[in-house]
Symmetry: C2
Subunit: 495 residues, 2 copies
């Protein structure tokens, strides 16, 4: 069919079997400031009952943004919100009240500390879904976890929505977690306490994804957003475990030029990074990359020339925040770091990672989500991702804590399956996953290895064994493997 | 239903009405080098008859990658390929042979110079679809233009696919055009002549999107990839037009602190940038951003402190390539620059842009695609995007070239509709779109304005008017507005 389009041209609407739409008019594009207040932004994004709001956790225990958003939701009288945060902290205790009065009724995201404790005893109508960093990215990308409105905290933003966590009084490091939310959410609200001149000089999230910018007094308490400076554990037992990790790496032949390792901030992991740096120095070795998070310790190793590349996804301390403001190095967002559906991730090249555990079992399964009393107090974080991405995944744990066996017959909850765990380093010996015959061969004669059952027996003999858990039948939460399948179910803890 | 998953846990497959899949096993992720040869990469990507291959044009007239890819396709005996390049140049003359023998039978992308000339006379079975930079990005993003295999030329890449155009012997500037191809194509092949140590220090395209890396001797001829150094036109008539553009901007009140302008490399546009820099200096004004492309001229203005931010999407000359290797400034990929389906683009803030034309008409429609003889010789580029994004879109053109009226009753092909064109600056006067009453008011008494008909009359009187075009009925191509609708149809030129 021939039609005249609005520009006066004769357009054939079907050519070679394909249909074409005639031009119907052009207009100038313009822009206006996206700045408004939170309530207005939520209204304009069409907030309504039952929707899903997402948040990142990079303001950590200093975050004001989740609470202020739920306040605004409550004031608008909207109910049954699903929270899809990357994590929450004790500062988010008010979430308990939002749950009690029905503002929040579902959670798919890490639910930690006091809120986790509450939910463990008072199940929500739907189970809390716990995913790893990479698993969450994939779930949003594939549509398994659709987001209605993404609320993105930023320490600086321009009035058009380009924003960052790198600069500003509440700086916390690059906004690593939220690009997938920004790309896939129906609506995106940036919340900042520092409006900068256009264009914002860093922009992990760009205006192309942003509907509104909310300018608030403070997005958080800077002293709690990043640690002043992280301290290495002073506990000699933990120091010994960290040292033993390095011995194991060395015996396994991993400490060599070009190695790639994860830099963490947990107690023993932090010590292990420091000791690894010392070992690199002693052996005159230069590592290729450190993935994970920045701390003064890993930056010192970098400055000493012992690692060529800081390929980081978060920033843990003041020194590191200041450092990247001057030297950006190589930030890798969580998709680049850990998206299991991608064609290549920074963590795929990990030679080794040192991870913690609340419990481990004789099948090498690891729990980081629940305590032995069943309470869901921690998220998965990058635990699954780095375990599966690394050639040598080392779990560190004491064999028991107080009267509770940590090495045990069965973990209370499976966070990371034994299939991807290579070694467990404890204060009473090192166990190697028997499937890793190659590893056992490499370290033979260099490292004393104990069967995992022996470590369990020490734990049981000393403590009298595990206590029988009397849990309810209601389901509190589920742990998912990063491919979306269910690893385990978490049941209600009786009060 | 309760099932035991592979980790031995009882999983309930339906909870609160939602179904869940039980964990079925975990494995270690690993990686291996993605490096192979082009033929092997194409085979592994499942190349077959009728598929669409995409390319970017940032190696310009020095590009070897399109020809070598089509050579490999031909050797594999695969036919009926659709090319979805961002542009081609005379170096791609072999494409004519690939068309003749059926390797290539469809094109959706800018088709320039000798290949455009050939196709104008020998229509393909489907019309060539011409889109603007932003329109192409949107078409790939929305699925209007699906890509089977994206072939991405990179001047450096690591063996896992992280790659860049910023460094290496064939450096051409950031790979601005291809991220949308990388994200949406079924398969992605990076072609480079410089494999660097992992991780590649710049990475406009990341390994997460890349299937294979092809290591070739040379991706192009560096002397033709970027101009040695661009020269300002020495034609006094063109210089006068460029000067008049600056006078018009100034009269319109646009030359003031915080202004945003486009920096181009075409003959008159380049001169206009230089003269604008001089005017900024004279008036002691500091502009906010320059978008578009980098040249020595705009970098000089930046170094002089007359523009705060280089917000660029391509790099035109040697000096600029070297400059960004030391000072990255703010690259903006084409989606950030011009995606019409986004929530905000760098060009939305353009106060002014100076663009060329092969023809303009009394309705202010502009043609840049065909010459007055009907031959399709140029792409749309950012013409539509910046015209619609800018407050003052200035078209520059002589009223006639030789015996051909450039200002005319009707353009041969509409590239950019008059609705978004504000002014036409010619060697015989300046015409303002009568819809822009505000602009006419602002410049009253400062700039002499001529009715567009008067400019047309000068052209017709001097040349004897336009020649009647004797075109065939077959459709050679279509021009699309960046929203996907059809602006115009290009018909066959008789030989």
């Amino acid at each position: 069919m021939v039609v005249k389009n609005i520009a006066g041209r004769d357009i054939i609407t079907e050519i070679s079997g394909k249909t074409y739409k005639p031009f119907a008019g052009a207009k100038k594009y313009s822009w206006c400031s996206k700045v408004t207040n939170l309530s207005d932004a939520l209204k304009k994004c069409g907030l309504k009952d039952g929707q899903t709001l997402s948040f990142h956790h990079q303001l950590r225990n200093g975050d004001f943004v989740i609470n202020m958003t739920l306040d605004a939701v409550q004031e608008l009288g909207v109910k049954n919100i699903m929270m899809a945060q990357t994590a929450i902290f004790d500062v988010h205790k008010p979430v308990i009240d939002f749950i009690k009065e029905g503002t929040v009724t579902r959670v798919e995201g890490s639910i930690n500390g006091v809120v986790g404790d509450y939910v463990s005893k008072h199940p929500l109508p739907y189970p809390v879904v716990l995913r790893s960093h990479g698993g969450r990215w994939a779930a949003i990308k594939t549509g398994e976890l659709p987001i209605d409105i993404a609320i993105i905290a930023a320490s600086s933003a321009d009035i058009r929505g380009n924003c960052t966590g790198i600069i500003g009084k509440s700086a916390f490091g690059p906004i690593s977690y939220s690009e997938v939310d920004a790309m896939h959410a129906n609506h995106v609200i940036v919340v900042t306490d520092n409006i900068v001149e256009y264009p914002c000089r860093h922009q992990e999230i760009q205006e192309r994804y942003v509907d509104y910018v909310v300018d608030v007094n403070r997005i958080g308490d800077p002293s709690k957003i990043v640690s002043g400076s992280l301290k290495i554990t002073e506990d000699p037992m933990k120091q010994q475990i960290a040292h033993d990790c390095i011995e194991l790496m060395d015996a396994a032949g991993i400490i060599k030029d070009g190695m790639v390792f994860q830099s963490g901030a947990g107690g023993i992991s932090l010590a292990a990074v420091k000791y690894l740096g010392e070992r690199l120095e002693e052996k005159d070795i230069v590592a290729s990359c450190a993935t994970g998070g920045l701390t003064k310790f890993i930056i010192d190793i970098y400055k000493a020339g012992r690692v060529k590349c800081l390929y980081y996804s978060q920033v843990f301390d003041d020194d590191s925040v200041k450092y990247i403001q001057e030297n950006l190095e190589m930030p890798a967002d969580i998709g680049h770091y850990a998206d299991p559906t991608s064609k290549g991730r920074t963590i795929d090249s990990l030679d080794t990672v040192v991870l913690g555990a609340t419990e481990v079992d004789v099948d090498f399964n690891v729990n980081v989500n629940t305590h032995s009393d069943g309470r869901m107090l921690h998220g998965i974080g990058g635990h699954q991702d780095t375990a599966a991405g690394s050639s040598l995944c080392i779990i560190t744990a004491p064999v028991f804590r107080k009267t509770n066996p940590i090495v045990r017959e069965k973990v209370t909850t499976i966070t990371t399956p034994g299939a991807v765990i290579d070694a467990i380093v404890t204060n009473k010996g090192i166990a190697i996953n028997p499937k890793r015959k190659d590893l056992l061969e490499k370290i033979k004669g260099k490292i004393d290895v104990a069967p995992i059952d022996e470590l369990k027996n020490i734990a049981y003999d000393t403590t009298g064994g595990t206590e029988e858990l009397d849990l309810g039948e209601e389901i509190v939460g589920i742990t998912k493997w990063f491919d979306g399948t269910v690893l385990d179910i978490i049941k209600r803890v009786k009060e």
